[in-house]
Subunit: 185 residues, 2 copies
């Protein structure tokens, strides 16, 4: 089981880290000991909207070898949806069984053609932008089987726990949720 | 208004990023345009418990010039509470008007002597460790005026929003909460 956490210039850090915290606990808390992941970027430089630097572990390498690809959002997505080189790179994840996004990360999945004929969600301020790619649903998590999208920024944690349950079951998810001290509504 | 986000080896990334996301929006959403911050570490190397690298903007520089110092938790705190050089460095934040912590970050505040005679909270699994420094309270946020402590990992977002309200008022906090798409219980 191998996960690609996609990062890019001007991402929202919490979009990335919320789901990252939950999902990586599948390994650190020993539910899926063989779980592996990489921080995948198209460019060497990855700085969030506030100047915080992230360090990718893979740069401009194809994404087709991962089981799960997770894409955060952020203001950077506004430009990247029209960046052919970036979208072509993201498109290399086409064979991956599962893609997931947080916030405006779904715009990138849409631009890469992964939302065609599907329903998806995004940050409420980006519902209009998402409409050109798919049917927009105002839910916290939208699961279309091979593509799962989450709503705004903090829904990253909800996506993380949702994926934990999907990959390792309800009990594992609950133990991770409690360890994260997260209260669901 | 100047904030030090403290980072260290083997921190929990979400402890840091939850409060970071909320508080930095005070500037990016223009509520406190003159807000400034640094990512402060005692050591050059800052890697979280899963291998994720963070890049500090200030290394081993005194913390006494900041208005607010925010300390995350993580397994690294278990060693750092007894690391005299680290605690001495953290102790340079003594003159700062406000200190805050997430999760086991409160153990570091305790070891630095900042919790004497006060109440504080931490991750539920670390309640016993915190007892040697102060009165332990099982609340999401414990505000002692000059020291504010938050409970486990995901309470980082709650601390962030709490600080937003304290620094910029209820309306600013609400706008930030909505932009973060965060639902409070």
């Amino acid at each position: 089981m191998k996960i690609a956490f996609v990062v890019f210039e001007d991402l929202t850090a919490l979009d990335f880290i919320g789901v990252y915290d939950a999902v990586t606990r599948l390994k650190t808390m020993n539910f899926i000991p063989e779980l592996d992941w990489e921080i995948c970027s198209f460019t060497e430089r990855v700085v969030d909207g506030t100047g915080l630097i992230f360090t990718p572990t893979k740069v401009n390498e194809p994404l087709d070898t991962y089981d799960l690809v997770i894409v955060p959002g952020g203001f950077g997505t506004r430009k990247l949806v029209d960046d052919h080189a970036f979208i072509e790179w993201l498109g290399t994840s086409k064979p991956c069984k599962l893609k997931a996004s947080v916030c405006t990360g779904s715009l990138l999945l849409g631009s890469a053609g992964f939302l065609q004929g599907k329903s998806a969600t995004t940050h409420p301020r980006a519902f209009n932008n998402l409409k050109k790619y798919c049917t927009v649903v105002d839910d916290r998590i939208v699961d279309e089987g091979d593509v799962i999208t989450a709503k705004g920024v903090s829904s990253s944690i909800d996506l993380g726990l949702y994926l934990c349950e999907k990959l390792a079951g309800f009990d594992a998810k609950e133990k991770i949720r409690i360890q994260m001290d997260y209260q669901t509504n």
